[in-house]
């Protein structure tokens, strides 16, 4: 992401965090859980059950961040535990884990975040108009509990963590980059 755009998003977050909160959306928790279970089962041939949050594993976890804009603006981050990334990516591609390249592993994590974010937002707000930016591989960020929706999931091969938060749209907001 260009430094200018990163700075824009930083300012947006600082200016607007707390004005719109996803943790107050009644259907959000259930939607996140259902979307995670459906996406993992349907396209990644795995299971996802809500698990207790013990975040030590996130320090070494492959992670993707995706931003969305339109009638709702915000961002979602997703992390897979290190031991689960290869089996999940291999399952998606129909390969053996040892056949995977680093690029494929990263692309599958990006695709998982893209599918999960789209599924969740489309179910939450089917009448909305949303644009998703391209997911970026990054390090996990611990967000304040207030205003963000977060769950950890036990999946067949390890752990999955998802956090989503809204950022109020300001008149100066720039469109997401495709």
């Amino acid at each position: 992401m260009p430094p200018e755009l990163e700075q824009h998003w930083k300012l947006e977050r600082q200016a607007n965090l707390g004005q719109a909160t996803l943790d107050q959306e009644p259907a959000a928790v259930q939607t996140m859980q259902e979307a995670a279970a459906q996406v993992l089962e349907t396209m990644f041939f795995s299971e996802a059950e809500v698990a207790a949050c013990e975040h030590a594993w996130l320090a070494s976890a492959p992670c993707a961040m995706i931003r969305f804009e339109g009638s709702h603006c915000g961002e979602m981050q997703l992390a897979l535990s290190a031991e689960s990334a290869d089996p999940i990516a291999a399952s998606f591609l129909g390969l053996e884990p040892m056949e995977l390249t680093d690029a494929q592993r990263g692309q599958v994590i990006q695709e998982l975040s893209n599918i999960l974010c789209g599924a969740m937002l489309s179910h939450l707000w089917p009448e909305s108009e949303l644009a998703l930016a391209s997911p970026e591989l990054t390090a996990w960020q611990e967000w304040p509990d207030e205003g963000a929706l977060h769950r950890c999931f036990l999946i067949s091969e390890g752990m999955l963590a998802i956090s989503v938060r809204l950022i109020s749209k300001s008149p100066t907001a720039r469109p997401v980059e495709e």
Binding site: M43, F92, Q107, E111, N114, I115, H123, W125, A131, E178
Partner: protein
């Protein structure tokens, strides 16, 4: 009859996934061509006849919406059915893509069976209209 399908998506792993689930689903896939965006798709379509196009929306250079406009404006290509595959399942997006000429819309996640049914439906509709 084995069908030739063009998969248009900027994600190489998503193209691989779609190719694999078409085979897993029992769909009679003869050849799977690939393109990373709308421009590459049009180049493929100018060189090869295909039975159906599966296209993403958000892609660099030429996105799915522009690809659909180009297909509809082409007297020959507009007869090839196109199905949109997208993470965006909002009503507005679906209606827009259908209005641009898409004959089907698959929102992710989808099962192999659902993809096969959609492919067979649009190919069947095309064959019926030509009969």
């Amino acid at each position: 009859m084995a069908y030739r399908v063009l998969v248009v998506d900027d994600s190489p792993v998503m193209r691989s996934f779609i190719r694999r689930v078409m085979t897993l689903s029992g769909f009679d896939l003869g050849e799977c061509l690939e393109a990373g965006n709308g421009e590459e798709a049009l180049a493929q379509l100018n060189a090869h006849r295909v039975d159906v196009i599966l296209t993403d929306i958000n892609m660099p250079k030429m996105n799915g919406e522009e690809l659909m406009r180009r297909l509809c404006a082409d007297g020959i290509l507009k007869t090839t059915p196109a199905v949109v595959i997208s993470t965006d399942a909002t009503n507005e997006r679906i209606l827009r893509m259908i209005s641009l000429g898409a004959e089907g819309y698959m929102s992710k996640p989808f099962t192999p069976e659902a993809l096969r049914e959609e492919l067979e439906r649009v190919i069947g509709d095309r064959d019926a209209s030509r009969a």
